[in-house]
């Protein structure tokens, strides 16, 4: 009885020292978030407000998208609409080709990851340089992000130091001091910014009332990416549109507090138009399934997500299995749910990665019912043909026993016979409980057989 997630998690957990470090690192992020959340008296009101704004916006998305697009066009931006990942990649490639771009610098965007944009452009001769430090590290290492906000946190500074030495970024072998490595990365990226012909950003928010694209970073790399080249492309999912600045004020107080435990990100940049008269600003609004998800009565609320990543930090399973144990490119509670919306035949193996402890939905700044949604996906696995056969057999057997009182009575009364069975037989490979547990000792009599004596005792 195993799943794609449980197999990878088992392999991850073999290195005890590493997994303890991984768990403690992400629990540290949760603790920093708690310090911020408990520092604001109105935190729970903010969560309620943020959820209400998103519910409203997502359920009136058509109006806000049009308003956003009109205002962005008035500002002088060129707005493109991409129905899916393929169209998005084509649009971006078309813009870059039209400007004879050889090198694109980009700030962090999970949307471009979702669409597989980097390999698409690279296959067509365009060099793509990630400029967020974490993203740059994993790009150089040939890895995918293991977390949506802290994509390279699974690596140690020694691993990063060795990588930088290999790639010629660091010139002092053995110096793995994080400040030094960051300095070397900055020098190397500076050159990339200056030699790129185009810059790309994602977007944390799109403001319908003004047509702004709002990007929150800690490194200023989005600003560098858009201040050096004359061509700026912003890629943004449809659900990132919010009505106005008043709404932004609510989310802005929550995003960094939840995501990284900071009161605000170091930089919050608003982009409205090209930076110079001979520059261009393109906005690509990407659907890629989102307009279908709005219509899903059980799962549409995932579109409220602001991608803070805190559900991963609080998830006891994520912390002990790592980002790569999930088959979808977004891991953790939100990733389980988004992966199932994307393709249940590919991502049903992640649905097991949840104890239904509900910490994620208590921590979520926009109150997405993440754990409840996992429960709902589990109910649908049979329909998708991805349910575990052995688990179904076990549940069938249980419901027969529970449905027939005589059978239940016989089973519970004879359970104690298991106590006498040889240890090796009970703890064989066929009993998954015995992998991590000693078997419990069953009592001679179940409660329903003792109860009569209790009553008698009381009467006497």
């Amino acid at each position: 009885m195993s799943t794609s997630h449980s197999k990878k998690a088992k392999a991850f957990l073999k290195d005890r020292e590493y997994t303890q470090w991984h768990d403690a690192t992400f629990w540290g992020a949760r603790t920093k978030r708690d310090n911020m959340a408990f520092g604001l008296e109105e935190w729970e009101q903010l969560r309620e407000k943020a959820s209400a704004i998103k519910r409203h916006t997502v359920s009136h998305l058509d109006q806000y998208l049009e308003q956003f697009s009109d205002n962005a066009a008035k500002n002088g931006a060129t707005v493109h609409w991409a129905a899916d990942a393929e169209e998005f990649n084509q649009i971006v490639f078309g813009i870059l080709k039209g400007h004879d771009v050889k090198k694109l610098v980009k700030s962090k965007s999970m949307l471009t990851e979702e669409c597989g944009m980097n390999p698409y452009l690279e296959a067509r001769g365009i060099e793509v340089v990630e400029t967020d430090l974490g993203e740059r590290i994993i790009q150089l290492k040939g890895q995918k992000p293991s977390h949506i906000v802290m994509p390279a946190t699974h690596l140690s500074h020694d691993e990063v130091g060795e990588l930088f030495e290999q790639k010629g970024i660091s010139d002092e072998p053995g110096n793995h001091d994080p400040t030094f490595l960051t300095y070397r990365a900055r020098l190397s990226l500076r050159n990339e910014f200056l030699t790129a012909e185009a810059g790309m950003t994602g977007g944390n928010f799109g403001i319908a009332a003004t047509g702004d694209i709002v990007v929150c970073t800690n490194e200023g790399n989005a600003d560098m990416s858009t201040s050096c080249p004359k061509l700026h492309i912003a890629a943004i999912g449809l659900e990132k549109i919010i009505p106005d600045y008043d709404c932004l004020a609510v989310f802005h107080r929550m995003l960094a507090r939840s995501g990284t435990g900071q009161p605000t990100t170091t930089y919050t940049s608003h982009f409205r138009k090209a930076r110079c008269s001979d520059g261009e600003f393109h906005i690509v609004l990407v659907d890629n399934g989102r307009s279908d998800w709005v219509a899903d009565p059980d799962h549409w609320e995932v579109l409220k997500c602001i991608r803070c990543g805190e559900c991963m930090n609080t998830c006891p399973v994520y912390r002990r299995s790592g980002g790569y144990s999930y088959s979808y490119f977004i891991p953790g509670p939100i990733g389980i749910n988004l992966g199932m919306l994307r393709d249940p035949s590919q991502h049903s193996g992640n649905v097991s990665a949840c104890t239904l402890c509900n910490s994620c939905q208590c921590v979520c700044p926009v109150k997405i019912d993440l754990g409840d949604q996992v429960y709902k996906w589990r109910q649908k696995l049979q329909e998708f043909g991805t349910a575990s056969k052995s688990k179904k057999m076990m549940c069938d057997a249980m419901s027969s026993a529970f449905g027939i009182p005589a059978l239940y009575d016989a089973a519970t009364r004879s359970a104690h016979l298991l106590n006498k069975m040889p240890h090796g037989l009970v703890h064989c490979g066929l009993n998954p409980w015995a992998e991590g547990h000693e078997m419990m000792a069953f009592p001679k009599k179940p409660f329903h057989k003792i109860f009569g004596e209790l009553e008698k005792e009381e009467k006497s």
Binding site: R320, S359, C395, A401, M440
Partner: protein, 277 residues
């Protein structure tokens, strides 16, 4: 309504308010007004009958009119959490028949209570469902309805409190560590009525222990690791016992502790409340 009576906010039946002495209050509430159905979940019945015994003795000690309806089996939670919710429907129907006559359905299990309360209305769609609103975990029932004031048992030990997830985040037995709301803990409040006990909480006081029903046999490695981490945090408090409102969490942690040779004991909170009764 008599002057000392008030309506219970949960179930709208008449109970007696706090403004009269507790003995009289128990008497009037217990003998005249409330009928309590004792729900002993399948795994408690089969593995931890002592928890059932303690629940019965405690409720009777408090002067309540308690009945243990015969023929109980399971509420359906294990199958539903595993993804086979429809198999819980026939069990929910039987449950409704068996328990509908009571004013309160009281169980020494937060996860079974939460399952009934949060899911039965949906599972019983088209049928009468009275039990969802009446199901209470024994901790919240004692804390919110019975409100015992006099000392209960005596338990001269240091005890580490295990705040089970469904108790914290579905039934509201304590303030979730994620939420910026005034801090409270109903289990701690009740344990304050036990003589000579010392109650402590582990670091990360409401992180999941990794049981999760079928999770523990499907995600064996993560489940065992979570269990071990949790047990070690309980041990680090210096406690002799771990106590909590759900025997399934305790069963999981006890199994992990024994496998790893870790010596700490486990007792359901009702066993401690009823100690010596």
């Amino acid at each position: 309504m008599l002057p000392f009576q008030k309506k219970c906010s949960r179930c709208h039946i008449l109970v007696v308010g706090n403004n009269i002495p507790s003995v009289l209050r128990m008497f009037v509430n217990g003998l005249l007004l409330m009928r309590v159905g004792l729900l002993i979940p399948c795994y408690v019945d089969a593995v931890f009958p002592e928890v059932g015994v303690a629940s019965w003795k405690l409720l009777r000690h408090l002067g309540l009119d308690v009945t243990y309806p015969e023929g109980q089996t399971c509420c359906g939670q294990p199958m539903a959490n595993a993804g086979f919710e429809r198999q819980a429907v026939p069990l929910a129907r039987k449950f409704e028949e068996r328990f509908k006559e009571f004013d309160y359905i009281v169980a020494p299990s937060v996860s079974c209570t939460a399952f009934v309360r949060l899911n039965y209305e949906r599972l019983l769609e088209g049928h009468e469902c009275t039990t969802a609103a009446k199901a209470m975990d024994i901790v919240e029932f004692l804390h919110d309805v019975v409100k015992p004031q006099a000392p209960l048992g005596r338990f001269p030990h240091k005890v580490s409190l295990h705040n089970s997830c469904h108790g914290v985040r579905e039934l509201g037995l304590s303030s979730p560590s994620e939420q910026n709301i005034p801090s409270f803990n109903k289990i701690k409040d009740l344990l304050a009525l036990v003589e000579d006990i010392e109650v402590v909480e582990p670091e990360r006081p409401d992180e999941c222990c990794g049981f999760g029903g079928m999770f523990s046999v499907e995600e064996t490695a993560v489940s065992a690791q979570m269990g071990l981490d949790k047990v070690q945090r309980h041990i680090a408090t210096g406690a002799e016992y771990v106590t909590g409102p759900d025997s399934s969490c305790l069963m999981h942690m006890a199994g992990v502790a024994r496998k790893q040779g870790l010596g700490i004991r486990f007792k359901h909170v009702v066993e401690i409340l009823a100690a010596g009764l």
